[in-house]
């Protein structure tokens, strides 16, 4: 082969770096629109209703909204939460026909039953308390917590679950209490409680089974996610064991673990960590199999097929924005992933042709220049842009000059600081003398 031709081929390959996926991959068609029914089937309990609610509020698409509301309505009917019921009915506003109207008979009967049950629980609890049987009191409070939770009074439920703490006799009880408290706190959005109860539960190591450990990891991951500590969140999600299965559907589905963990890891891990903790992580691979888009985009990111990676991200975005936990963080995570990709792309090169790079990222040269400028200003990329020839040159900091500069600067600062220190000391001294002499 002629050397010139050879070079040309390589150049072509570099040039194609990114958009070759058209031949290489069979594109995984991510559903344009979220399949609400399939999505809802992943969850159970209150979170299912809340997620449907959230989708209905955010999707901005009438048919999808009605679909979500219809399923929420059906789900609520199975439970006893009349307040949520009224809210959903109001949102449906008669658009789903008579079957989905305000069912006063049902609501009244539920409320009546609830009152009766509450009275019964109260009298039971009182009896237990007079008898001072620890275990029964604990059960009583627990029942109260369950009752309030079922009726949507989360604050009360939380209080009652926490009260059981004084009556816990075994480590199992404590873990039970913690899990209940975590569940309610997540529903309330009080993630500081979640963190503290997770750590409380983790203290009693011996009584933890694999499923509980997985649950606690998920809860801790969620708490870190809410606190915008993406790296910690990623670590927690990556530690979730395969035992999780469908055991924690009242909070999180295994698909979510893959999504949250994958995105957080992409945004916060460096290449080595990504390889060792995500790609080579057998546990997590099982989760990733559930969400092939995330798996593919992580692999694309790692193998530097940024265009296809970003394309996957773009496709997923609409659905992620409908996620009750992730929606606030999508933009930040995406921005971080994009900057990471840009940094990684430029890292090995001494000079980069901006035209090629723009092509790899499917963006315009001008737009790319702006992005790079922001990253350079932030000192995330050590390089300078030759705007005339559209080339990015890596910049090798001159250690010697930098040291000289730094030394001189430090000297100046020291000089200034010491002088003002001496001055202040003198002032203080005189002030002190003035005050004592006045006293005498």
């Amino acid at each position: 082969m002629e050397p010139d031709e050879d070079l040309g081929l390589i150049a072509d390959e570099i040039y194609a770096n990114g958009d070759e996926n058209t031949q290489r991959h069979r594109p995984i068609i991510s559903s344009e629109q979220l399949d609400v029914e399939a999505y809802a089937a992943l969850y159970s309990g209150r979170t299912k209703i809340m997620r449907l609610h959230f989708i209905a509020d955010r999707c901005g698409n009438a048919s999808m909204q009605l679909e979500a509301l219809r399923m929420a309505y059906d789900e609520i009917k199975k439970g006893e939460n009349t307040q949520l019921f009224r809210e959903v009915v109001q949102k449906i506003d008669g658009r789903l026909g008579t079957n989905y109207g305000p069912d006063p008979a049902w609501a009244d009967s539920v409320d009546r039953r609830a009152d009766l049950r509450k009275e019964k629980l109260e009298s039971e609890l009182n009896a237990y308390r007079t008898n001072l049987i620890k275990e029964s009191i604990r059960m009583g409070y627990n029942d109260f917590g369950d009752f309030y939770y079922a009726h949507g009074q989360l604050g009360e439920a939380f209080k009652n679950y926490v009260r059981t703490r004084d009556y816990c006799t075994t480590a199992k009880h404590i873990i039970h209490m913690c899990l209940n408290a975590i569940l309610v706190s997540i529903e309330m959005g009080q993630f500081t409680h979640v963190t503290s109860y997770v750590s409380k539960a983790e203290q009693s190591q011996d009584a933890l089974d694999a499923i509980t450990v997985a649950k606690l990891r998920c809860a801790a991951g969620l708490a870190h996610l809410e606190a915008k500590k993406y790296k910690l969140a990623a670590r927690k999600f990556l530690e979730v064991g395969p035992e999780l299965g469908n055991n924690y559907t009242e909070v999180i589905a295994p698909q979510d673990v893959a999504t949250y963990g994958g995105l957080c890891a992409l945004a916060s891990f460096d290449r080595a960590e990504l390889k060792s903790k995500v790609i080579d992580n057998i546990n997590f691979r099982n989760f990733l199999e559930l969400v092939p888009e995330i798996r593919e985009l992580i692999h694309d990111f790692y193998t530097s097929h940024y265009a296809s990676c970003l394309e996957y991200l773009g496709n997923l975005k609409a659905n992620l924005l409908l996620d009750i936990h992730l929606h606030d963080h999508v933009e930040t995570l995406y921005d971080q992933i994009r900057s990471k990709a840009l940094i990684q792309y430029t890292h090995p090169f001494v000079s980069v042709d901006l035209n090629m790079m723009a092509n790899a990222f499917k963006t315009s040269v001008a737009g790319l220049e702006k992005e790079l400028e922001a990253l350079i200003t932030d000192n995330q990329i050590q390089a300078r842009i030759d705007s005339h020839n559209k080339i990015l040159y890596a910049r090798h900091a001159d250690q010697r000059n930098a040291t000289f500069q730094k030394v001189l600067q430090t000297g100046k600062e020291f000089d200034r600081d010491v002088r003002s220190m001496l001055l202040r000391a003198n002032l203080l001294k005189h002030d002190y003398i003035a005050r004592t002499s006045r006293k005498h």
Partner: protein
């Protein structure tokens, strides 16, 4: 005392007789102290007796009579005449003699300054006051009461350069907090006038962080200027105070300078249009503080800052792009700005006028020249002097009985147990 009877004539005679050597002068000083009352009672003969004395030989006596003379109310037409004689006295008097009666000398100078303000001719006072300071100082590290007045005269007369020459001395000794505040504040203004922002920042910093038990207006004004100068010189302003700042200042200063803090926030965004609208809407506030000029300098410094930022990110950039990103009106104006900055040594770049490109270069300083090594060497020497001073001050302080007394009292209050427990352990 019978001397009193002979009144002015005898005073003058005494002065003439007792001005030759140091023991005579001490005697004269005591005599003058006693006859002060006499001097202050009779204005008519004072001026005539001044004519009989030579200010360079009879400095002390001359000072006493002059002080008496200047403390009487003077008619407007005589003021000028009086000022001339004061100026002559300051120029020719002997430093040794006047240092015996610093308070008299200061009071003469203060009156002198007041009269000059009355005549609204500050420039007349600049040179005599500078001489007065030099004669009054026992060392160049001492802050005299006259420093602040002198700097104020310099500002009013716009003689920033003269004022700056005084500021180049490092001041360590000062006993009047008020004088110190004023000195630093006016000094800051003089430095701003000379565009010596680094020094100005240092002086204003001293005011803001000086120990104080109650907030004063000088500190508030200084803080406002501190914010502005910090923006001009450093391109940023950190709202947190160093931890040695007095708690009064930490608590209150920000409340008095809201518009300035908002200005620095707006500066931080890097958008020039935003900054300009903010300045426009708050124009009256800045104007009433007499800071509008500085605020305008802040605005123009932003262009420079933005261009400097470009040098960090670009190797070449067209003038048009510079104009767009920095929000200048066109490539012509961008070229002017870049050219100006190259000339001032603020950036290193070459302009290619043919295709309108600017090529940014690295700092050519290689830290290899003899000059640079000398510079570093002198810096090291200076720092060694400074740090020696610090050590000696520390030693002095730890031997100061008053300081030890205070510290001891506080220790006892807080660590009473520590004091007792140690000997007990050993006796067991």
């Amino acid at each position: 005392m019978n001397l009193n009877m002979n009144s002015m004539e005898s005073v003058v005679a005494q002065i003439q007789g007792l001005s030759s050597n140091s023991s005579d002068i001490t005697q004269l000083h005591n005599f003058l102290k006693q006859s002060e009352e006499l001097l202050h009672s009779d204005f008519s003969r004072l001026l005539s007796s001044l004519a009989e004395l030579d200010p360079s030989i009879h400095s002390l006596g001359f000072l006493y009579i002059l002080e008496a003379c200047i403390s009487f109310p003077v008619a407007k037409e005589h003021v000028s005449e009086l000022l001339v004689s004061v100026a002559r006295f300051i120029n020719s008097c002997s430093a040794e003699q006047i240092q015996l009666a610093p308070n008299k000398f200061i009071s003469v100078c203060k009156k002198f300054k007041d009269h000059i303000f009355g005549l609204e001719t500050p420039i007349r006072g600049v040179a005599p006051m500078l001489t007065a300071i030099r004669k009054l100082q026992s060392s160049s590290e001492q802050l005299t009461t006259l420093h602040a007045d002198f700097l104020l005269l310099c500002i009013l007369a716009k003689c920033y350069k003269t004022g700056f020459s005084v500021l180049e001395d490092d001041i360590y000794e000062c006993d009047q907090p008020r004088e110190f505040f004023l000195y630093c504040y006016y000094g800051g203004m003089v430095c701003i006038g000379q565009k010596q922002f680094r020094k100005a920042l240092e002086l204003l910093h001293n005011v803001v962080t000086a120990p104080m038990s109650t907030l004063n207006a000088i500190a508030v004004e200084a803080y406002k200027k501190y914010i502005l100068v910090s923006l001009i010189h450093l391109g940023q302003f950190s709202t947190s105070f160093p931890k040695y700042t007095s708690s009064v200042a930490q608590r209150n200063l920000k409340n008095f300078s809201q518009p300035y803090l908002e200005l620095s926030n707006s500066y931080g965004t890097g958008r020039i249009s935003e900054l300009e609208t903010f300045v426009q809407t708050n124009k009256e506030k800045f104007e009433s503080d007499n800071n509008l000029g500085l605020v305008m300098q802040v605005v123009s410094s932003m262009y420079k800052r933005n261009i400097q930022r470009l040098t960090q990110t670009y190797l070449t950039l067209s003038l048009q792009d510079i104009a767009n990103t920095v929000q200048l009106r066109g490539p012509k104006q961008a070229e002017m700005h870049v050219l100006q900055m190259i000339e001032d040594g603020e950036i290193y770049a070459t302009i290619n006028q043919k295709d309108g490109m600017v090529r940014f270069l690295e700092d050519p300083e290689q830290y290899k020249t003899c000059g640079m090594i000398e510079h570093i060497d002198s810096s090291i020497k200076r720092l060694m002097v400074v740090s020696k001073k610090l050590t000696s001050m520390d030693e002095l302080m730890s031997c100061d009985p008053m300081y030890l007394g205070k510290v001891g009292r506080e220790r006892q209050r807080f660590d009473f147990d520590d004091f007792d427990s140690v000997p007990q352990k050993f006796t067991v």
